[in-house]
C-alpha cells in the first residue's frame, strides 16, 4: 500500500513541541504543558499518594499524553518521535509527580525506554530522591516465546495496566502495592497485532517498513517492528481466528475466565472495521466460555497512519474489575466510574 508521505507539520524539528502546545491548548481543564515539555495534571494529585510517571517516544498519540489526569498518570514525559526521553528529563518528571508517598516509573518494555528509565533511577538515587521505583511492562506475544516472557515488548495491552494502576494509586495504595498491581495486570494481559499497511516516519517521510498492498502481517510492533508472519489479506473473521488462537493459548485464558477486551486502532482503520472484528472476538470468546466483562474499542496507542489493530485481553479478577471501573479523567480516556451492570448480554 502506498504510504502517505506528506504530513501536516511545520518543521521536522518542531513536531513534538508543536503537537504538545496544540494538545495543551485543547485541554487546559485537564493538563498543563511545563516549560521543559512535560504534560502534567492541571490539578495535582492529593499529597500522600503515589505519583505515576511514564516517559515514551512520541508519535503514538493519544498515548500517553492523553492518559494524564485524575485516575490515570500524574506526569507524562514525551520524547522525540519513537525515541524515549533521556534520563534527566525522566528525573524532572519524577520530581513533578512526587506527592510525598513515592513515585513509580512505568516502563513499556523497549530497549530505549528501559535503558533511559534505569539511568534515570540511578540519577535519582545520586540526587538522594527517596522512594522511586520502576515497573517494566510487556504484553506482545509475538515478540518472544513464552519461556522468555520478560523479553517481550510493551504494546497496546498495557492499556489495562495504565487504567488499573492509575486507579490504585488514586486510592492511596503504597508504592509497593502499586507495583504489585501493575505486575499482576501485566501477568494477566496478552496482546497481538495485525498490520495491513506501513506508515511514514514523520521526521524522515520514509515508510517504517514496506509491505505489498494485498498482504498483511501479524505481530507488527508499535514502531513497525517486524512481525512474525505475512500472508494475503483475508476476512475480518479469519484474521481474528488467526490471532485469537495463539492469544488464548499463551496465558492461557480458560473456560470460566472473565476478561477485559481491547481493540486498539493502530491508525487508519475505521470504527466500522473494528466493530466487525469485535463481532468475531465476542463470538469466539463466548464459544470458549470466556466472559467479557468490559470492551474498549478505539485509538489508544497508534503508529501514525498504519492500517492495523491490536487485540488485547486481560484476565480480570474482582480487584482488577473494580480498578478498571474506577473513575478516570484523561483527555483521551475517561471512565465515569459509576457501578454498572456487567456487559454479558447472554
Amino acid at each position: 500500500m502506498a504510504v502517505r508521505r506528506y504530513k501536516l507539520i511545520n518543521q521536522p524539528e518542531s513536531i513534538v513541541p508543536d503537537m504538545l502546545r496544540g494538545f495543551a491548548a485543547a485541554y487546559p481543564d485537564i493538563v498543563r504543558l511545563t516549560d521543559d515539555g512535560m504534560i502534567v495534571r492541571r490539578v495535582p494529585k492529593e499529597a500522600g499518594k503515589v505519583g505515576l510517571v511514564i516517559g515514551n517516544g512520541s508519535g503514538h498519540e493519544p498515548a500517553m499524553i492523553g492518559w494524564v489526569g485524575p485516575g490515570l498518570f500524574d506526569v507524562n514525559v514525551p520524547g522525540e518521535i519513537f525515541a524515549a526521553p533521556g534520563p534527566s528529563r525522566i528525573v524532572r518528571g519524577i520530581k513533578a509527580a512526587e506527592r510525598g508517598a513515592g513515585v513509580l516509573v512505568a516502563v513499556s518494555h523497549h530497549a530505549g525506554d528501559l535503558m533511559n528509565a534505569e539511568a534515570a533511577l540511578e540519577m535519582a538515587q545520586d540526587e538522594r530522591i527517596k522512594g522511586v521505583d520502576m515497573v517494566v511492562l510487556y504484553d506482545d506475544i509475538s515478540s518472544a516465546p513464552r519461556d522468555r516472557i520478560e523479553e517481550r515488548r510493551g504494546a497496546a495491552g498495557l492499556f489495562f495496566v495504565w487504567k488499573t494502576l492509575g486507579a490504585v494509586a488514586e486510592s492511596g495504595a503504597s508504592l509497593a502495592e502499586c507495583k504489585r498491581l501493575a505486575e499482576k495486570v501485566r501477568d494477566n494481559t496478552r496482546s497481538l497485532s495485525a498490520a495491513l499497511s506501513s506508515c511514514a516516519h514523520p521526521v524522515t517521510g520514509e515508510p517504517l517498513f514496506r509491505m505489498p498492498e494485498d498482504e498483511m502481517e501479524i505481530g507488527t510492533g508499535v514502531h513497525g517492528e517486524l512481525g512474525s508472519g505475512r500472508r494475503k489479506i483475508t476476512s475480518a473473521d479469519e484474521i481474528i481466528d488467526l490471532m485469537l488462537t495463539p492469544l488464548l493459548a499463551d496465558l492461557p485464558f480458560r473456560d470460566g475466565d472473565d476478561v477485559l477486551v481491547l481493540l486498539n486502532n493502530s491508525g487508519s482503520l475505521t470504527l466500522m472495521e473494528l466493530f466487525i472484528l469485535n463481532r468475531r472476538v465476542a463470538q469466539r470468546l463466548d464459544e470458549a466460555g470466556i466472559k467479557v466483562y468490559r470492551t474498549w474499542i478505539g485509538p489508544y496507542a497508534t503508529t501514525q497512519e498504519m492500517a492495523g489493530f491490536a487485540l488485547a485481553l486481560c484476565r480480570a479478577d474482582a480487584e482488577i474489575k473494580q480498578l478498571y471501573d474506577a473513575p478516570a479523567d484523561g483527555a483521551y480516556f475517561k471512565m465515569v466510574g459509576r457501578e454498572r451492570e456487567g456487559s454479558d448480554l447472554g
Binding site: 526521553p85 535503558m115 516516519h201 521526521v203 517486524l226
Partner: protein, 235 residues
C-alpha cells in the same frame, strides 16, 4: 619512528607521522564536536537508510540534529574545560536525541567526561583511558557484547587501537585516526552479524549484509575527531 609526508602505511607498527598534535584542550573538544556534527550531518541520509533496515530509519536525522545542537551550545557558551564540553555534549545527546541511541552515544561522552576530570589538556594516554571507560559504560548500560551488531562492535576495536597508540606514545591525531580505522573495520564486520539487541533482533537475518547504523555513526565521528586535530594544527 620515521616521519614522512605519508603518515599511514598499513599498520600501527609501520605508521609514519606528520602530525605533532599531542593533546586537546576545551577549545579542541569544541572543535571536535563541531567536526563530528558536520560529518554525521553529511552522512545523515546514508545513516537513515542503514537504520531503516532494522530500525525506524531516523538515526541519521536524530544524531545529526543532536550533534549540531551540542556544537552550537558549546560555541554559544565556550566550555571551561574539556570535561565540561564532553559532559554538555553527552547531555544534549541524551535529552534531545533520546531513545537507546541518544542514551548510549551520550554515555560515551559523559563517561569520557568523568575520566577527563579536571584536566586542562587531554593527551593520547588520557583519551585511551576515556574511550576505554566509555566502552565499559556503554556495555554496562546497553548490555551488548561484541558481536551483537551494535556500536560496541566499532567502539571496542577503537578502544584497543587507542590503547596501542598510547603505549607507542603516538600523537593524539594519529591515535584518533588509527582508532577511526579500527572502528571502520569493526563496522565492516557488523555486516556479517546477526543483531542481538534492541528492536533490530526482530529483523534477524534480513539485516545480514548491511552495516549497523550506530557503529557506522561512531566510526564517522572518530574520523571527524582526527580531522579536527589536523585542521587545528594547520590553523
Amino acid at each position: 619512528m620515521e616521519r614522512t609526508s605519508k603518515w599511514w602505511a598499513g599498520s600501527v607498527k609501520e605508521a609514519t607521522l606528520v602530525s605533532t598534535e599531542m593533546s586537546m584542550d576545551a577549545d579542541g573538544v569544541m572543535r571536535m564536536v563541531r567536526a563530528m556534527a558536520d560529518a554525521v550531518t553529511e552522512q545523515a541520509v546514508h545513516l537513515g537508510h542503514l537504520d531503516a533496515i532494522s530500525g525506524d530509519g531516523d538515526h541519521g536525522a536524530g544524531i545529526s540534529r543532536a550533534m549540531r545542537t551540542a556544537a552550537s551550545n558549546l560555541e554559544a557558551a565556550p566550555p571551561s574545560a574539556p570535561a565540561d564540553a564532553l559532559q554538555r555534549t553527552g547531555s544534549v545527546l541524551m535529552d534531545e536525541m533520546g531513545g537507546a541511541a541518544g542514551l548510549l552515544f551520550g554515555t560515551i561522552f559523559t563517561a569520557a567526561a568523568r575520566r577527563a576530570g579536571t584536566a586542562e589538556q587531554l593527551d593520547t594516554r588520557q583519551w585511551a583511558a576515556m574511550i576505554t571507560d566509555a566502552q565499559d559504560a556503554v556495555q554496562k548500560r546497553g548490555k551488548a557484547q561484541p558481536g551483537d551488531k551494535t556500536m560496541v562492535d566499532a567502539l571496542a576495536p577503537a578502544a584497543v587501537a587507542f590503547r596501542e597508540a598510547a603505549e607507542q606514545g603516538l600523537p593524539l591525531r594519529d591515535a584518533f585516526e588509527l582508532s577511526a580505522r579500527a572502528a571502520a573495520q569493526g563496522v565492516e564486520a557488523t555486516k556479517a552479524m546477526l543483531p542481538k539487541q534492541g528492536r533490530a533482533r526482530f529483523v534477524g537475518e534480513r539485516s545480514v549484509g548491511h552495516a549497523d547504523a550506530g557503529a557506522t555513526s561512531l566510526s564517522i565521528m572518530l574520523g571527524a575527531a582526527a580531522r579536527s586535530l589536523t585542521e587545528r594544527s594547520v590553523a
